[in-house]
Structure formats: C-alpha cells, structure tokens
Symmetry: C2
Amino acid sequence: MLKLGDTYQTEFSISQEEVTKFAEVCGDKNPVHLDADYAAQTPFKVPIVHGMFSASIISKVMGMEFPGEGTIYLGQSLDFKRPVYVDKTYEVKCEIIEITEGKSIAKISTKIHETERGKIVVDGVATVKNVEKLP
Amino acid sequence: MLKLGDTYQTEFSISQEEVTKFAEVCGDKNPVHLDADYAAQTPFKVPIVHGMFSASIISKVMGMEFPGEGTIYLGQSLDFKRPVYVDKTYEVKCEIIEITEGKSIAKISTKIHETERGKIVVDGVATVKNVEKLP
C-alpha cells in the first residue's frame, strides 16, 4: 500500500521523431513543434515538444509505475511553465500529497524538471484512484 | 480579435488503431487501453481511450483552430468524469470565459461531450496566450 509522502521519480527525453509521431496521432501539427524555420521566428527559437506530450509522460507514470497497474485517472492540472525541448533530459517527480482513505483516491503532485539545471517546466497535480495500491 | 463569450466546437472520434499508436508514442501501454480481455475485467468492460489522448484533442483545437496559430499553451485543468470509448463520437466545446486584456491571455472552458447523449466526459479550463488573436 502507498502512503502519504511516498515519492517516485523517473527520467525521460523526447526525440524530434517522437514529436512528429505525436503530432500525426493527435492531429496537432502546429509548426512550432515540427518546423525549425518557423520555430526560429518564435520566442522559443527551436522546435518544442507539445505540452500534452509531456503531460502524457505523467499519465504513463500514473498508469504503469506510480501507483501503476489498476490506476484510474480522475484528473490532472497542468501549468506549462517553460518549454520542453527535443532531446533534452527531464525528470518527472511525484509525491503523494493527499489520500482520501476508504476511497482509494490520492492527489499526487507531478512536477517535470530539467535534469541539468533543475528548473520546473511543468507543474501540476494528478488525482487518481487505485483500489489495490491506495487505502 | 476574439472576445469574451466567443465559442467554438468540433466533433471527433478515436479508433483502436489510433489508441495503439498513442500508446506506442507516449509509452503508456496500460492494458485497459489495448487489451479487450483485460478491459472486460474492469468496470469499463471495453478498452478506453487514454485520458491524455482526449486532452490532446483539446490541445490540437487550441493550437490549430481556437484561438489557432500562434497560441502558447500556458495551462490546462482536466477532470476525467467518464471514460472515452473507441469509435464513439464526441464534441469538444470551447468558450472564452476570461480575458486578461493587454496580456493577450485567455481562460477557455474546454468540455468534451458524448455527441449522442450530451453527457460531459472531460471537463476543464485551458489558459492560453495569443498575441495576434487576443486583446
């Protein structure tokens, strides 16, 4: 059983090829994600990862790792604080900040940091239910 | 220029093949999305779409349609109220509910409804910036 204060963290990076696939699957072909010439004209200068792709990494962690199998995703807040760049390394850091006992529901803080300088790029809180792993 | 109260809506459906591709791209291979036998043992009975895939449809609308090109995604809240099923038809309904004038920032309510019965499946609010389309 997981308990209040339990933490989990994992590292990831996303390639330009993965960003292109994500754009094809969800239909979001905004050129800021795909076209280096276009991105050069924006404040980002180089192509950035879709915010919802980085959010999908959080979703993967919830469903497969922490709490893991059996998780039902009830909600997620997302604050896209800084761009996520292709091929850079990031860490997802999770901490159980609230448990509704008897309901198997938890709030988990979900923060994505740049590995190199530690700056938060995505901040948020997940709400999940898992009858096997939460009291 | 967009203004307070402006609305946009569009219809979509997601195939099992698209769900499988989404799982491959983001790595979330939770069997509730991919394996009909596993899903049959859950409260959902049949495979469901990743919540973050339906959220990615909202993201696509923000970036490509409403407000559209030039949108910078600052945040999104997501309340996954009911499962989203493969091959069913849904509508994304958006409405500008707040504008921070002079900053080109808006809050947009983003609701996904079942087309058939109108029930809300995903509720939330997007925060976006667009210097060309918001005052």
